[in-house]
Each structure stands twice: as structure tokens, then as C-alpha cells.
């Protein structure tokens, strides 16, 4: 597998709490990778993946968390990107980096098609695959309905499904 793709996927997994397989299941990995790389530019992308590896290559969860705090969360360049990435996966929306971020932190000019600070839904699939609903055993309004009467039952998928199945 493409090394950068692997890093993007593993970073997404570390940040969202969803396994790489779950994220692949949305069908959005390549679209989102392309989007993020375009929005932040090549140099910052390289920095992001390099730094991400320093976190992801740590063996224990505790160490990964510590490195995440030191190397990523403390970075005014990288943490805003990672926050956006979590929102992208959970809510299917991307807010372009701010003008301040471009000018003073990343020190690059925004790519031609980017309007800094603007929020948008990248594709219809981004909407239908929002992880926040998946986590809650629900679904985005208007997509992936759960079937007649299911609202009267406990969810049979999502994070509570195992617990509920056991109870039934």
C-alpha cells in the first residue's frame, strides 16, 4: 500500500477511534486524503505525515497518546488540521483552514480553489457516512434509514449493539 495512504488512514483511525477497516468501509478514505492534501498543500502534508508516523510508530497506546499531545496537539500548524479531520469523518463537513493559519502558521498561500474558513460538504457520500450517527446507533437524517418501527427498539448496530444484543 502507498505509504502516505497508510499514514493517512492510521492517523484517521487514531484520531476518530474507528479501526482502519471501519474507515475503509465508508469508501471515503481516498477522497478525504485527496481533500486534506489539497487544502493544506504539499509541504504541510509532508510535515503532517512525518509527525503522524512519530506518533503511530509508538507501540503502546500510552506512548502514542503522549506523543500525540507533544508532537501534534501542541502544534498550531498540525492540530487544527487534525481537528478538521475528525469533524470531516464524524460530521461529513470540512471547514477550510483560516486565513490566519495559512498566513502565519503554515506560511503558504491557500490553493486556488480554497476559500479560507468556509465550511462545505465534500460529497453526498460524506453526508451519508457521518460517523457520529454510526457511533450512536443512528443514521443521518434522510439517509440509510433503519426500517419501520426500529425507532421503538434498541439499536442493533453501532456502539451499543453488542450491549443490547446481550440483553435481548
Amino acid at each position: 500500500m502507498d505509504k502516505d495512504r497508510r499514514t493517512f488512514l492510521e492517523l484517521s483511525s487514531e484520531l476518530t477511534g474507528y479501526s482502519p477497516i471501519d474507515l475503509e468501509g465508508t469508501g471515503l478514505v481516498d477522497e478525504y486524503r485527496k481533500l486534506v492534501e489539497y487544502e493544506v498543500g504539499k509541504n504541510v502534508t509532508d510535515l503532517l505525515y512525518q509527525t503522524a508516523r512519530s506518533v503511530l510508530d509508538k507501540k503502546s497506546g500510552e506512548e502514542r497518546d503522549r506523543t500525540m499531545h507533544i508532537n501534534i496537539m501542541a502544534s498550531a500548524i498540525l492540530w487544527p488540521i487534525c481537528q478538521n479531520l475528525v469533524v470531516l469523518w464524524y460530521r461529513g463537513q470540512w471547514s477550510s483552514m483560516s486565513s490566519i493559519w495559512y498566513k502565519y502558521y503554515a506560511r503558504v498561500s491557500p490553493p486556488s480553489k480554497v476559500a479560507p474558513g468556509k465550511t462545505f460538504v465534500p460529497s453526498t457520500q460524506s453526508y451519508t457516512q457521518q460517523l457520529c450517527y454510526k457511533a450512536a446507533g443512528a443514521h443521518p437524517p434522510g439517509a440509510n434509514p433503519t426500517g419501520f418501527g426500529t425507532w421503538g427498539l434498541d439499536p442493533v448496530f453501532g456502539d451499543f449493539a453488542k450491549h443490547n444484543r446481550k440483553r435481548q
Binding site: L15, Y133, A136, T146, F160
Partner: protein, 602 residues
């Protein structure tokens, strides 16, 4: 000059469609003039609007959101946050700071494209507020008079409910009556509140009232009741373009702004039935601009309308339609502005009472919310399946508004986004973030309280030559406020009822009304407390019916007192608003009016 019709109907929404259906069944010829585009009637468009819903990230706060802007026949863009006489809304103009914050859609099918589907009947005392509670005025008809039309409306809209749940406050059904379909299953949220509020009550102005959670009747397909009708039950009506879809609600959780499978009724279904009828002609993109009076007979001779080709351009041709009867069915606001714009007097037509445009009512709406003590798994199912309906009538109506409390199945709506941001601010990520978010979402409960308003001469829609749309037609100008009767109801709802409910149901209360109010809400202070209130989209009262021509616009059959061939029909005929979402009542009124028209045309 074109064909002469038995009836020319202005407006292709639920009122126009039902009127046309009944008249055509009686063998009468009908022309429907619809200001908007054919739009959602065309399957490819409907699909496009669903895609807009996705790409706009849900557009939930904005009922008109997925539907395209039409500058030739504009719709309000509520909820925006308009200022006094401001231009923030492209269509509505506001004369007072207390804004009218309800919208409607000008497109074939009308606002039923994004209504919630709630189909409660009014309760008998709603028709006699003056004689029972010395508030408002009495209707010229009673619940008993309207009961048969309610039944027909429940058939036409396809209402799901179980009769035994719906008998309260004197609401009655004929012996053996069942609704077309069984009630929809109640949600986990409903069960939670039902258990918590069992045998609980609240004290309001000297009386003790139970807090009963009741399933609400909805025009949304469920399981047909085999006992319906004389023979073999009821056939649910499918999606307009696909006979296999929408036969039962599948839990898309998107009644507003768009049901992807049309399991919920919209006027498209009735219009679709009429599509092959030789009796009914539907003309879209025709904005009625004036009624032309025949001075000799005092009858309406023609409906003048602007026909346009392109919704992005004001270019149009002026045409006339002629009918034995003229029926305005364009909703309470459009009916009123059309009457005011007609005739040569500044008072307009059908307005010798000076009541046209007055007594505008809506249900002021506010939310309370919190976390339940157990997981209730919201964000699934129709937006609401139950309500606390036991406060819709009572002696307290002498003092303050009655109200109903609608239990939300959609958690705190857009809140998952805010929660996500604050978790990230706290540097929560990964498995912990997923767990916290899921746990919070699973316990989000929200109640929407809607209050009755009293008819008031001061709450009105009018027109002004200063405010016209791109095509040169009048934009509605509003003077509107909430009176202390409604606000005292809001006070009781938040400080007594919500307090009691949240105690009994062990809710961790998160209700908060920030200042300034968020977009779409109006900040209102009453007795030292402030609330953020919005509209319900329940537009009622601008051409009320009555016993005499001095105080009302139409008679009990919705024929205008002033013009012998002009009917004005819809929720605008309601004398009081009560606490029922008005579409079912408006549909029943349309059925009553259409039957009167048929008698007149025989």
C-alpha cells in the same frame, strides 16, 4: 379569452388539490393556478432536492432549504434573522421587531412537501373559546359540524392512529370508526417519558392536570387497519413516481424538510390522482395577481395572473382565467395579500369587515432539553411520535394559553456538531471521543412546546406599494407580536411543566436561552425571565369565518360575504388556533367548502 371553468382555484397545495378532487368527482371542471414550479412532482427533481439535502449538510433548520429559490414566485427564507423593515428576508417585510417566523413553500404541492405530518383534530372547546373561557371568539361551527369532514380528511391524507388513544377533551368519533392505518410505533424516547410520567400531574391555576404521553396521529404510512371502511381496509398511497416506495415509513428521520420516499402525505399524492382526470387542469408558473370584479353583479369575473417561463426572470405574460366559482387556496398569507391587492379600493376585495389579513396566528414554539438518565437512542424515526396532549384544554385557558408538548425523536438536532467541537477543544480524541459522543447522543432528549395565540386585530399581514417582488407583485408586510396570554403559557410550560417532567424523568436539564437568540428565534421577556421562541409554520386566521359579515370574511362554508362566487379556503378560515397543528383542520375545512361549492354548482 380561454375556456370557462366551473371553478378556478388559486394554489396547488393541499387545499387546492382536495377542493379540485371533490369538485371533479362531482363532474365539475377545474383549473388550478399554481404560482410555483412543477418542481417536486417530477421524480428527477425530487431526487435532486434529496441530493441538495445531503450536500447542504442536512439543511434541517431551514424547511425550504432543499427546494430551489424562485425569484418569480418567492418564498420566505425563514429562519433568517430579519430586522425591522429589513431586507434580510428576500420576501417577507417586517413592520415590528417581533417577527413572524414561519415559512411556507410556493411550489406545486405547497408546504405539505415539508410539513411534519402531525394530524391532530382540534378539541371541541377550541371552537367555543369565548363562551367557555371568555377569550377570543367562537366559531360559527362546532366540532360536531366539522367531524364528518375530519374523517374524510383523515382518509385523504392517510392518517395513522388508534382511536382509543385519541379520545380526550370531548373529541369523539362515530361508533366503530378506525383510522385508515394503525398508529406508528412509539419511540424509545416516548417509552421513557411514558414510564416516568405515569400517574404524574401538574398544578396549573387551581387545577390538577395529568401529564399523559399519547401517540400522535400522523399522515404518514403505517400498517393499514383491516377494519377501516366497510370492506377491506385501506391502501396506503405510495411515492408519486414509484408505486413500490413509501408504502410504510422506513424511519428516514427527515420528515422535515423532505421525506426521501414520500411515506408522509403531500399534496403531490392527491394531484397525482387527478393527473389523468379530464376534469382537472393544473397550470404551474402562474402567479395570480388580482381578482377582477364585475361591478354589476359583484361577482369575480376573472383571475388575472402572470405566466412566466423562467423562475430566474421576472419576464411574464398577463393572462386571465374565468370560472363560475373562484376559490382562493393559496395559504393564509397569500390569500390575504391577493385579496388586498385586488379591486379598486385600498381595502381590496372581500374586505367590508376590514378583517382580511388580521387575526394572524401561529404557534409560538420553544424547546426545553437535557440528558435522560438512561439511554433512549434518539436520532431515529419520524421527528415526533408522541406528545403530552393533556394540557391542550382546561380552566387555565381563562388565564393563559393551552399548549402541547411534542417529544423529539431527533435528540438536540444539530447538537452533535457542537459537542464534537467542544470535545476537540478539550483535546479529547480517538476511542474516548467516540465513546463520549455516542453516550451523550444516546441520552439527548428535547421537548417542543407550542402555545395557542388569541386572535388579535393587531397581528396582521398587509401590503405596501413600497415592497414588491421582482415581478412587481406585493410582498407580505407583517405586524406581529406575542401577547401575554401566550407568554404566560410559555412561562407555565417551562417553569411548571418542564420542571415537573424533568424531575419525574430524572433529566439533567441543559435548557438555556442565550442572548442574543440564535438565528430563527425571537428573544422574549416575560415576568423577569427570557425565552427564545420561534414560529411553527402554522399560519392561521387571516380570513376568518363567522356568523355575520361585520366581523368575518367568510360564512361557515368559506364563501365570502361580499362576493357571491368567491370562496377563500384554508387555515386562514380558522377563528382560533387551539393547539392542533392546523393542516388536518384546514383539509377538513376545504372538504366542507368543496361540498358547499358542489351543492351550489348543481
Amino acid at each position: 379569452m380561454s375556456k370557462h371553468y366551473d371553478a378556478v382555484i388559486v394554489g396547488g397545495g393541499v387545499i387546492g388539490a382536495l377542493t379540485a378532487k371533490i369538485l371533479s368527482e362531482g363532474g365539475k371542471s377545474v383549473l388550478i393556478l399554481e404560482a410555483g414550479i412543477e418542481g417536486a412532482m417530477k421524480p428527477s427533481n425530487y431526487q435532486k432536492y434529496l441530493r441538495t439535502l445531503y450536500t447542504e449538510g442536512g439543511v434541517r433548520g431551514m424547511p425550504n432549504g432543499p427546494y430551489p429559490w424562485n425569484s418569480a414566485a418567492p418564498s420566505p427564507a425563514i429562519p433568517s434573522a430579519p430586522t425591522v423593515r429589513g431586507e434580510d428576508d428576500p420576501y417577507f417585510v417586517f413592520d415590528t421587531p417581533k417577527h413572524f417566523m414561519s415559512d411556507y413553500l410556493r411550489m406545486l404541492g405547497g408546504t405539505t412537501l415539508h410539513w411534519q405530518g402531525t394530524s391532530l383534530r382540534l378539541v371541541p372547546n377550541d371552537f367555543r373559546m369565548k363562551s367557555v373561557y371568555q377569550k377570543g371568539i367562537d366559531w360559527p361551527i362546532s366540532y360536531d359540524d366539522l367531524e364528518p369532514a375530519y374523517r374524510r380528511a383523515e382518509y385523504e391524507l392517510g392518517v395513522s392512529a388508534d382511536v382509543e388513544d385519541q379520545i380526550f377533551f370531548g373529541v369523539w368519533f362515530p361508533k366503530g370508526y378506525v383510522f385508515p392505518m394503525h398508529g406508528l410505533p412509539q419511540s424509545r424516547v416516548d417509552h421513557y417519558f411514558k414510564a416516568a410520567l405515569k400517574k404524574q400531574s401538574v398544578r396549573l391555576h387551581g387545577g390538577q392536570y395529568p401529564l399523559k404521553v399519547i401517540p400522535i396521529p400522523v399522515a404518514r404510512n403505517s400498517t393499514p387497519n383491516p377494519k377501516y371502511g366497510i370492506y377491506a381496509g385501506y391502501d396506503p398511497v405510495s411515492m408519486v413516481s414509484n408505486r413500490d416506495r413509501g408504502l410504510r415509513c422506513q424511519g428516514n428521520s427527515s420528515c422535515m424538510p423532505l421525506c426521501p420516499v414520500q411515506a408522509k402525505y403531500s399534496a403531490l399524492k392527491t394531484l397525482n390522482e387527478l393527473e389523468n382526470s379530464s376534469q382537472v387542469e393544473v397550470r404551474t408558473q402562474c402567479v395570480a395577481t388580482r381578482l377582477i370584479l364585475d361591478e354589476a353583479t359583484n361577482k369575480i369575473a376573472f383571475v388575472e395572473y402572470n405566466r412566466y417561463q423562467n423562475p430566474d426572470s421576472p419576464r411574464h405574460t398577463v393572462e386571465m382565467a374565468k370560472g363560475t366559482l373562484i376559490v382562493l387556496a393559496a395559504n393564509a398569507i397569500e390569500n390575504a395579500t391577493l385579496l388586498l391587492a385586488s379591486g379598486s379600493s385600498p381595502k381590496g376585495l372581500a374586505n367590508s369587515s376590514d378583517q382580511v389579513g388580521r387575526n394572524l396566528m401561529d404557534h409560538p414554539y420553544l424547546y426545553t432539553w437535557g440528558y435522560s438518565s438512561k439511554r433512549v437512542y434518539p436520532f431515529r424515526g419520524p421527528d415526533t411520535t408522541s406528545g403530552v396532549e393533556s394540557l391542550r384544554d382546561g380552566k387555565f385557558r381563562k388565564v393563559h394559553a393551552s399548549f402541547r408538548a411534542s417529544l423529539s425523536n431527533w435528540g438536540w438536532s444539530s447538537e452533535p456538531g457542537h459537542q464534537l467541537s467542544s470535545l476537540l477543544q478539550e483535546k479529547t480524541y480517538g476511542k474516548q471521543l467516540r465513546k463520549t459522543l455516542a453516550e451523550n447522543m444516546a441520552r439527548m432528549v428535547k421537548i417542543g412546546f407550542m402555545f395557542e395565540q388569541l386572535p388579535s386585530q393587531k397581528n396582521r399581514v398587509t401590503i405596501s406599494p413600497d415592497y414588491k417582488d421582482a415581478m412587481g407583485n406585493y410582498r407580505p408586510v407583517f405586524s406581529y407580536h406575542y401577547d401575554s396570554y401566550s407568554l404566560a403559557g410559555a412561562e407555565a410550560a417551562v417553569n411548571k411543566v418542564w420542571k415537573k417532567i424533568s424531575e419525574c424523568a430524572k433529566i439533567e436539564d441543559h435548557t438555556d436561552y442565550p442572548d442574543p437568540a440564535p438565528s430563527g428565534y425571537q428573544r422574549v421577556s416575560f415576568n423577569g425571565k427570557s425565552y427564545n421562541i420561534m414560529g411553527s409554520g402554522h399560519i392561521v386566521g387571516t380570513h376568518r369565518m363567522g356568523r355575520n359579515k361585520k366581523h368575518s370574511v367568510t360564512d361557515r362554508n368559506m364563501k365570502t360575504w361580499d362576493h357571491p362566487n368567491l370562496y377563500v379556503v384554508g387555515a386562514g378560515n380558522q377563528v382560533t388556533i387551539g393547539t392542533a397543528n392546523p393542516t388536518l383542520t384546514a383539509a377538513a375545512l376545504a372538504i366542507r367548502a368543496a361540498e358547499a361549492m358542489l351543492r351550489e354548482l348543481q
